[in-house]
């Protein structure tokens, strides 16, 4: 059994959703019950399988890849089918396998228009395969394929089940991401042809194997080429994150997507970008990463402030949450840009926390929309009187999102600010301390917009439209919208289905906030390894040297290689 898990565990986890999706395609649409149960069953089985793998995962060796599979795939181009997970991937895999069944439970008997659960579930399952595959792939081309597989289902999910402006939003999402990934593919190919570790005693010439590439095979590449290659990856991953100037697809996609689509988009899809930085860009090209880090840092803090200000300008609740994602991903990117163990570990924690919290917020936005038929915050209000339980859940999530200590959000932000105080020695300390101050201002703004949002949505009474809000005034119903100034009995509180879908997320937000070591313990060793520069068996500490001696250090690696 153990041997079987080691050899096929990951492949089964990745492909079970896809296979179920294909089976569902063949079942006639009339057998809806069967389709739904099959989809839910398979996503729960995937979660169970992921937990089984986690149990078997050797946490003491979280920095080494486990469950590694390595077989031929496309021999002609030197790409192989390599999968494996380490401490970086594990939390994200668990997050993905958890979010998908919750999404299915949330939409059970409750499909967004135009219903058609068969297609909807097929797309979600294909999406799951794409996401999981991206996290486990250890070959650049395999990674690329999974990274792209995610696009189509999401495109259709937004386009078919989305809101008013869905066609525009879905195409924008698709075009932006494809633009980034086309350039990223060029970078991958350039790496393939330029990486050569023969002189350093490494048997890696022309390979897409991430393990070999991050083991110093790229050291011989000239600095200018490295910078260009990194630029390509930066665009590919950066659009997905999204980093500041490339973020404009995000508010549109989030706003138009159906609830479940927004949840998956926020909880997992954005992480594909940041994961790419941590897994590929930095370990493979540390020299270029150190040169690009200031740029990433600047864009990250712009994202933090811009996202927060963007939030304050929104009228639509979902759009506000979308802009808050831009700000939160700014924190994650800032953590990555520090090139320190603390920073990147916090970034990975931030990814998980953002996935849980923002996923929750989008669930809530969906439920609010269902009850009030609008997300316009000037018309919302009174959630705490109309549906007190749900109101408190909103409040809880808003607190988590603004980084209240004791909840998960805190551990994604505070250590990042800490890490910016003392970034890797190769980076300019004063510059990152400036970033630190700006990011700290960002947390204040975050508190501002989240409390503002909470006030608008949960406090007071529902307003706007034809409803007279003066206390005691006779409510007159305009066009069928019967929001009363008093507690609106027509608004149902959280339903059982919603509790089932939300409870695990709420528990985790609290649990990880109180005991963050759960994640730290697996992530930290892996992060540390990703920052080490090992060429063959020799370890170089270039990133921990001052800028001038770091250049010598990198040149030494180059000479050794070439």
């Amino acid at each position: 059994m153990n041997q079987f898990l080691d050899d096929f565990g990951l492949s089964i986890m990745v492909f079970v959703p896809l296979i179920t999706g294909l089976i569902i395609m063949l079942i006639p649409r009339a057998k809806e019950e069967l389709i739904k149960q099959l989809a839910l069953g398979s996503s729960l089985a995937t979660l169970g399988w992921a937990i089984l793998l986690t149990v078997r995962f050797d946490i003491d060796n979280a920095s080494t890849l486990q469950f590694v599979v390595d077989t031929d795939w496309i021999t002609a181009i030197g790409s192989r089918y390599i999968m494996g997970i380490d401490g970086l991937a594990l939390p994200l895999i668990l997050l993905t396998t958890l979010i998908v069944p919750l999404c299915i439970i949330y939409s059970f008997n409750h499909w967004p228009e135009p219903a058609n659960p068969k297609s909807f579930l097929t797309l979600i399952l294909i999406l799951e395969t794409g996401m999981l595959g991206t996290f486990v792939a250890q070959d650049l081309i395999l990674f690329f394929v999974f990274f792209e597989v995610v696009l189509l289902p999401m495109y259709f999910m937004i386009g078919v089940w989305g809101g008013q402006n869905r066609r525009y939003a879905s195409l924008k999402f698709f075009l932006y991401t494809l633009f980034g990934s086309a350039l990223m593919l060029i970078s991958f190919l350039a790496l393939y042809f330029l990486a050569d570790g023969t002189a350093a005693g490494l048997d890696v010439v022309n390979t897409f194997d991430m393990r070999a590439l991050s083991d110093g095979a790229t050291g011989a590449i000239a600095r200018t080429s490295q910078l260009w290659i990194f630029a390509g990856m930066f665009l590919g991953f950066g659009v997905k994150v999204p980093i500041f100037p490339f973020h404009t697809w995000l508010p549109d996609a989030h706003t138009e997507a159906p609830t479940v689509g927004s949840v998956i988009l926020a909880a997992v899809l954005l992480k594909l970008g940041t994961y790419g930085f941590v897994r590929i860009a930095i370990p493979i090209l540390p020299e270029a990463a150190s040169a690009w880090a200031p740029v990433i840092g600047v864009l990250a803090v712009i994202g933090i402030i811009y996202g927060a200000l963007g939030c304050l300008a929104q009228k639509d609740l979902k759009r506000l949450i979308a802009f808050s994602s831009v700000a939160h991903m700014g924190f994650v990117m800032l953590g990555i840009a520090t090139l320190t163990n603390i920073g990147i570990t916090a970034a990975v924690f931030g990814m998980v926390a953002h996935g849980l919290i923002t996923g929750m917020l989008f669930f809530l936005a969906g439920s609010i929309k269902e009850r009030y038929h609008t997300l316009d915050m000037s018309k919302l209000g009174g959630l705490l009187t109309d549906a007190p339980r749900m109101g408190w859940v909103v409040a809880f999530c808003a607190m988590a999102s603004l980084g209240l200590p004791g909840l998960a959000g805190f551990w994604g932000e505070f250590p990042v600010i800490l890490a910016s105080y003392s970034p890797a020695a190769i980076l300019s300390e004063s510059m990152f301390r400036t970033f630190m101050v700006i990011a700290a201002v960002g947390t204040v703004l975050a508190a501002g917009y989240l409390l503002w949002m909470l006030q608008k949505a949960a406090f007071g009474t529902a307003g706007g439209g034809s409803v007279d809000l003066t206390p005691g005034a006779t409510p007159h119903n305009g066009d069928g919208d019967d929001h009363l100034p008093k507690a609106n009995t027509a608004i149902k509180d959280t339903t059982k289905r919603e509790w089932i879908a939300w409870a695990p997320l709420l528990v985790l937000i609290l649990g990880l906030g109180v005991y963050p070591r759960l994640v730290h313990e697996v992530v930290e060793p892996a992060t540390e390894k990703s920052l080490e520069i090992n060429v063959g068996n020799i370890k170089y500490d270039c990133l921990e040297l001052s800028p001038s001696s770091a250049t010598d250090c990198f040149n030494e690696i180059r000479n050794r290689n070439g």
Binding site: L178, F179, L183, A190, Y192, F193
Partner: protein, 544 residues
């Protein structure tokens, strides 16, 4: 004196001895020739009664021609090429994979044609005879390593298509299609012949290998001569592959020709042009990358960008596919700009183009299959008629989406591997021009997704179009039916389709033969994307 003259002519002829012919190596071509002759003769004998068997004979004949290809492959031709006629005709791994591709593409086109021909009002058996002749020209092209043979192959494959393009002879659009294609075609042939004569003058040979080794050809003094020769002979094929700015015939011809012929034009005829380009550049002109590399670079960049940008504005599905074809041709031209860097990059460039050709053939034929199926119902080529296809004909919508996204290059569909192999060839050259061209290609991948994605969006996100009154042929797919209905010259079509609609209302079922065609193309599109090894095994060939 007359006798003496006659004698002087006859005497060398009498001494002429037939060169040794490797019949086995020529058997695919001979089989196809037999099929063409058989179909033509049967047509004369049976006339109308031959309707049913023609299709079967042609289809089976194309498949039968695959048998000698397999035996040749088993014989190890890939490692030991059969060289015929002093090197003018070579059967090697390169030609075998392409011959197989042409035959299968031809078979799929026959499947696509059957229903179209049956739905039409008049029956012309020469359709299949002409198709066989054109296909024969393509088979010859894959082995032609000599200027004259290339010319003969080109004319053999083109002339039947000129006629097929005008197959809807009572439709002005059909005539326009044929005439435009014919005039530009012969013009290009003329230019090419001029170019070839200059090359012959500079090198003293028509055999590509000899041209390559001719010192005069490589010498820079002969540059004006050689530059003109190379540019002229390559431009003619740029026309054939509809590369920008030689593409202007394509949209009109595609629109006016019968849709199955358009499908044939857009894949097989284009592929034949690429075959010639590869042979000319890598075998004949290889030493002169100073001339052809910039030309190919420009053609590739212009075709990708020009084709894509114009395609964004198209309202007719066939015209859209015409411009998409221009852009796709740009991708395939790109590696030719860097093949001169080294023999490795030449091998890689060739392999990537062949892989692209095979995958492109599969997915593009798939798209045309769907166009045919949908047009049977809607009688329209307007992109609006695809609105809401998913809600009425989910299978067709899913298939079309797969083909379109494959054309756009979304993994794990075949098109992604095709694009990937082009990128790979460009970057492996490790030159600035290669990297820049790869960047241009990357940007174009995104532009192309714009129109493929919008078409997919129509099928999935829109409601089916309302039944519309037809306004004077504004929404023709490019077939004769619309015009005929308007002219009142034909009633059968009108009876069969009582009302013209722009949009699908009822579910659509593909006729059997179209179903098989779609199945073949779908399997190829998926298989080559998920397990590209099944394709690269055959496309890894060398022309050296």
């Amino acid at each position: 004196m007359i006798f003496a003259l006659a004698e002087s002519i006859i005497e060398p002829l009498a001494e002429f001895s037939r060169p040794a012919i490797d019949w086995h190596a020529l058997s695919p071509e001979l089989t196809l020739l037999g099929v063409g002759v058989l179909v033509t003769v049967l047509d004369i004998l049976y006339k109308e009664r031959g309707k049913q068997i023609m299709l079967v004979i042609t289809g089976l004949g194309f498949l039968a021609a695959l048998i000698p290809i397999i035996t040749l492959a088993v014989d190890g031709v890939a490692s030991e090429p059969r060289i015929l006629f002093n090197g003018a005709y070579v059967v090697d791994g390169f030609s075998l994979i392409l011959k197989a591709m042409f035959l299968i593409a031809g078979y799929v086109v026959v499947l696509l044609s059957s229903q179209y021909v049956a739905d039409g009002d008049y029956w012309e058996n020469e359709y299949y005879g002409l198709l066989s002749a054109s296909l024969l020209g393509m088979l010859v092209m894959t082995s032609a390593r000599d200027l004259i043979t290339i010319f003969v192959a080109l004319e053999l494959l083109s002339i039947p298509i000129y006629m097929l393009a005008t197959w809807n002879k009572r439709n002005p659009k059909g005539n326009e299609a044929g005439i435009k294609y014919y005039l530009t075609g012969v013009f290009a042939s003329g230019i090419m012949l001029y170019g070839m004569s200059l090359i012959f003058g500079a090198s003293g040979s028509t055999i590509l290998k000899d041209i390559f080794s001719s010192p005069d050809f490589l010498r820079s003094e002969s540059s004006a001569f050689v530059v003109l020769g190379i540019v002229f002979s390559l431009s003619a094929f740029a026309f054939k592959v509809s590369g920008f700015p030689f593409h202007t015939w394509a949209p009109d011809t595609y629109e006016g020709a019968p849709t199955p012929v358009t499908a044939f034009l857009s894949v097989a005829s284009k592929a034949a042009g690429f075959v010639a380009l590869m042979q000319l550049i890598v075998v004949g002109f290889y030493g002169r990358e100073d001339v052809y590399a910039p030309l190919m670079w420009f053609l590739a960049a212009a075709s990708m960008t020009g084709g894509n940008i114009i395609a964004l504005r198209q309202k007719n599905i066939v015209r859209l596919m015409a411009y998409s074809g221009v852009a796709q041709a740009g991708f395939m031209l790109a590696p030719l700009a860097v093949v001169g860097v080294s023999t490795t990059s030449a091998d890689q460039g060739i392999s990537s183009i062949i892989a692209y050709l095979v995958i492109y053939t599969a997915m593009n034929l798939g798209v045309f299959g769907i166009i045919l199926v949908v047009a049977r119902r809607t009688r329209s080529g307007d992109v609006k008629s695809y609105n809401g296809l998913f809600s009425v004909a989910p299978t067709m919508a899913v298939l079309m989406t797969i083909f379109l996204m494959s054309l756009a290059g979304v993994p794990p569909l075949g098109g992604w591997y095709a694009k990937f192999s082009i990128f790979r060839a460009l970057i492996s050259a490790n030159t600035v021009s290669g990297y820049v061209l790869a960047g241009v290609a990357a940007v174009n991948t995104v532009i192309a997704l714009g129109y493929y994605g919008r078409l997919a969006a129509r099928m999935w996100f829109e409601k089916p179009a309302e039944e519309l009154e037809i306004v004077g042929g504004a929404s023709e797919i490019g077939s004769s039916e619309n015009a005929e209905v308007e002219n009142g010259s034909d009633v059968s079509v009108e009876n069969a389709y009582e009302k013209q609609i722009v949009g699908v209302k009822q579910t659509i079922k593909a006729p059997f033969s179209l179903g098989i065609a779609l199945g073949i193309t779908l399997i190829a599109t998926l298989l080559f994307g998920i397990v590209p090894g099944t394709l690269t095994h055959f496309t890894t060939v060398s022309l050296f």
